[in-house]
Amino acid sequence: MKKYYLGIDLGSTTSKAVIINEQDEIVGRGITNTRANYKVAADIARDEAVYDARFNLLQRKIGEDVTKPEFKKYMQDLRSVFQYGQFRRRMESLERMLNKTVSEFNYENKAAILVKLKEIIETIRPQIQHGFINEDLGSKNQFFRDIVSEKYNVEVEAKGKEFYEPLMLAFDKSITPIENEMVHYNFKELVLEAMKILDEKYKGLVDEQEDGSHEDWYYAQLNAVKNNYKNVEFTLRDHIEDIANEEIHIAKMVGTGYGRALLPFPEDCIKSEILCHAYGAHAIFPNTRTVLDIGGQDTKAIQVDSHGLVTSFHMNDRCAAGCGRYLGYIADEFGLSLNELGPEANRATKETTICSTCTVFAGAEVKELLHNGEERPNILAGLHKAIVQRAMSLIARSGGVRNEFTFTGGVARNEAVLKYVKQMVTDSYGDVTMNIHTDSIFMGALGGAMFARRNISADLPTAKEKAKQEN
């Protein structure tokens, strides 16, 4: 039996899982938002990684054909609609919970609220369905809570003042229990359901006019899938059974991240995120000597040796300014989503100087600047620059950039942060190789999985028993 190794990085904002094989190759990745129940967050991230692994195995089984445009498009759509299947089930629970919550309200206009709620649900349900099936919502890195609340809020706004408070309250009360509920899905069932939906979708596909609104490959893929989807379906059907039954045997696992102590893992399966991030970054870029990790609530500057082992590190202390939460706060201040922040900042014509070294005070300063007519992109650019400046000071404290520099953590996905990191590292340390990987956010989980494969001497069952005895 093949052995796999799991790393789980329970961060303050997102929980990540990576599964590797015995050659340290990543076979699956999963990510979800961290929620009150850490075990659920970790389990969902793990399940996501297992699904991802199955999809990757499926792609491998298809062999060379997978590079054909119709397969590419089909697999992409399949994953998105597969996510919709999960989404739909959770959405049904949420709908029930919303109804239950409102039914228990003491508002005089309860009956009217229920009617409005029904209207909202019936509006957003097809919107989201459309988003997953026709608009690739599945690949946008959004989580259940974000997707639903975005649409729900828009609809609530439209329902008038008298319904605003009860409807928002209903959502806040209902989303948490639903989010913290663990639901296991049947891979095969969801895939087959997704294939059925896709079959319908492609059947009704009409030729799109090549009006130049998309790249050429887009039309090529669309045409290919339109003409050949039956063939793809046929090929896939051959393998689905095998893939669904293939046991992804997790031989060992390691948990990391700020919530690691709360993971239901035995003590010897818990590792510091500093070590994991460094190890993961070093595995992808073996010449890395300095790692900067900007996560949700901390920023770490880490120095590593040629084996990927940490030699020293520095972290921000007592202050959230300079890490992901700061960006989240700023996004809220501007009424933007996190994904929009970077692109908006990059539209700046200059960087407004932000003096406040405190997240909360920066918020006040932003308001003042807006009031004085400063452009939004310029303020955002200044804020992004301020974050990176803070990170640079940590790097300096930890010993500077010694050789190749690797940037990890969720914030590495923000293009404005990236721009300033590149700029300031070059300014301070000259022309060093800088690595940023699409998997930056998964580096901690990857490092964890690699540690799991290497040096946990105790077998999981024994360690688990030990943990149980101690409890």
Binding site: S272, L275, L309, T311, S312, D317
Partner: protein, 428 residues
Amino acid sequence: MSQEAQKEKSMILQKEMIEGLFNDLDHAKELGKKVCYTFVPGNLSELIRTFDMLPVYPEINALQSAMRKKSGGYIKEAEKNAHSEDVCTYVKCDVGMMMKGNIGPTGTKIPEPDVLLLSYTGCFTFMKWFETLKREYPNAKVIMVHTPYQENAKMTPQMVEYMVKQFKEEVIPQMEAVTGIKYDEAKLQKMLALSKQSEDWITKIFDTTKHRPSPIDAYFAGVYYIGPINIGFRGTQEAVDYYKELYSEIQERIRLGLGPITPEGEMKEEKYRLVVEGPPNWTSFREFWKIFYDMGAVIVASSYTKVGGVYDLGWRHDPSRPLESLAEYCMNCYTNLNIPQRIDLLSKCITDYGADGYITNSIKSCNSFSAGQLGMMREIEDRLEVPVGFIESDLVDPRYFSYSNIKNRLESYFQMLEQRKIMEKENV
């Protein structure tokens, strides 16, 4: 599972000494003794005792207050009286304690000072501290000695001469005036001979960490061991007896192959040997210590235990040159060494005691310790290729001890050491 703390004979001896001192302080008036406030670094205990004065160490009172969870309230009191958030928390704790009636660690009132003696100027705050106290105690005599910094890594004859001149022309005449007692050099010499013995013993004690497992923790227990030598007993037979006893107890631990004693009993497994730079946090001293011993980490040397004197390199008080050796003593306390000297000293500790790592506990409100710490750490890391760690806390302000931050950092640090050990084993 907290066990009854193990009480060794030496602990009882120390307790008796301290209680005796505070008892004398409580009855200073009846005993006809004058009271001299002074600081641990560069303390001239023998000279103070030559004039039959009783010493009071405000920073020791502050750390004692912190260990008794009283410092938070005292600091608030001082802040109410316009001492800013950035002022050294030892000062604020002391000032606050004074405002609340000056009740010392043993529950009795500490008498007002007759003399405020400052004999170490490396910490600028000390000077300001006594200026503040002078306003509160206008009758106290202020004696300030300028101690030259070891900028060029040596104590030159001119520096010694400069200090001796201050002793002869300022310190001694003023002490004579306050106490009405004539300076008796023979009495001082007798005490200095005992000081030398105490210093020999304490050096031997801190040298026992060469053993594996180390029989003592040179930081968390070390701060208790330095008590007598730092707070006025250095030139007394009591101190010599205490250190002799302590040494023999440690010898017994070595014979039995035992590790250090912790508040929860014996440390079972020594996994990591560390050298620590910087004072400990006092408000959460037990929790701080526990993070270390729970991980099997023992401190084999620390800079903090050298604040009251650096004896490792062979320097001793010398009865044949009484005032000259007092001058050298003042100049030779740890924070009066220049940064390269400190690096050399700590590197020697790391090498001599076979440390696996080096940790800096940076103190928010202590300039004299914090200045240069990062550079020192970097240099030690480069020179010895030893894994280094950096944590931040404070002396006696409970608001600046973040348990989860420190634990997270130390956990990461220990895992880093662990990983290295595994790699080294694999590479052998």
